[in-house]
Amino acid sequence: MSKKQEMLSAAEIREKRLSVLYKILPVVSVLLLVALWLAASSSGTGFPSPAQVWDRTVQLFVKPVKKLTLIGHVLISLRRIGLALLFDWTFGIAFGVLIGWFPRAKALLGPLFNAFRAIPPLAWIPLITLWFGIGEFPKVLIVIFGSLASIVVNVQAGMSNVEKMYLDVGTVFNATPRQRLMKIAFPSALDAIFAGVRTSTSAAWMVVLAAEMLGANAGVGFLISRGMDSLDMPLVLTGMVAIGIVGAILAVVTQFAERMICPWTRRKKSY
């Protein structure tokens, strides 16, 4: 035994070994996942190998599907959720403030909104396509229907739970009702509003996929259903990976925007 090792207590040695183990384990698990994938693809169930998926992805940049490369399809999907979210964030925040801040508005419109919220977003798809066909507008509308509830719920919760102590400050300074809303209630609800922005973004991304899978000729959801119809499994997996990556990027971007706009919320995220 060297001198240095003697100086460490048994507990410290154990601690050190464990920390090495904790660094190795994630690598092992990822390798295991890859091995599982390889095993699945070589077993002849039609499951594509990583190499095939990679080839297909590269091919998608060179040989477009429906005149669009992978990037093109992603952009089409993003445009759809962008338009929908623009509406969500303007109308949804206004509506959430309305029913969160004014008790009468809540009494009048709250039950209707709750009924609307109870219906799963994707269930609207048949009705909306029945009304508006399968153009671009109905798709955006489906996304709006699917993601509006999450932002309204958050804004409403934020606006109706404004802490009394902040409103007290307003009372002492003789704030007008308008100032109470704009200078106290709204800013204090900003972090709840941002939670709504984040959930509505991820909801929108999920709904646009489903909408595209059910009938579209562009977008990442379309890529997947195209792959399914033509039994092109590598294409399906490429689509899934692209969806996962874009979804993760969207989550990071909204979180970053929140930090920029609300620097006072230091969220303790355990996940």
């Binding site: 464990l18 009468r104 109870a118 799963p120 029945l130 999920m206």
Partner: protein, 278 residues
Amino acid sequence: MNETTNVLTNEQRVKLVQDQKRKLTYQSAMLSIAGILGFLLLWEFLAISGVIEGNKLSDVLQVFRLFITKFVDKKPDGAILPVHIWSSLEVALCGFGLAVLIGIPLGWLMGWYRGFDSFMRPIFEIIRPIPPVSWIPLTIVWLGVGLQAKAFIVFFAAFVPCLINSYTGIRQTKEVLKNVGKTCGASYFTIFWKVGIPSSMTMTFAGIKVAIGNAWATLVAAEMLASSSGLGYMILMGRSYGRVDLVIMGILVIGILGVVISALINLLENLVLGWKKL
């Protein structure tokens, strides 16, 4: 105001406050009824007056009549309503139940044991950002168009919130509570069992609630994309036969069932988390 301020007796004061409260509840109940009634009237007006054509919107009574006849009538989608409902519930409960049974213990273990966490975390992080709906093509290839395939997709939708919430919940176990266990000489596993899990229950139930919502929503998608039964299939068929009344009725049934299931979960939470109430 007169010189001497009126001093109210206690009874008068109580009555005053209670009357005010009653008036407010009455007022808001009236407004709520007005809101819903107004919506229904607008719907009825639009449907009957022909502002929106009959093949785009059917009137309220027609939808209600269809709801009754659909209990015995198999047309046009090949099954009566209870069969569709049962088929949907079966899938939802299978997928959701599996997600709860696997996701929650996994979350607890990951949150409590660091080694397990560092092993499972990367796998979970790779799978998490992929929306459940996009698993549909793969599951069709693997499992065909049946209960298993649909349950698998629902499982994915419900699994993630179950795991995340139970993980976060057990991670937030108060250090003091753990120390109480330690000073009593309990093993790490005993503390996990007696302290960690109970204190994570609130979060875990929050996760279960999100999960049931996700499960129900994803189920509709799964049934529309890969099924030949269930409520989602029913409304999709209504769409392709141009039966707007069937679509609207289906949407309403889906919504109401969702509310009923959430209410049941809330009831269960109140039973399990009785100590939370003061």
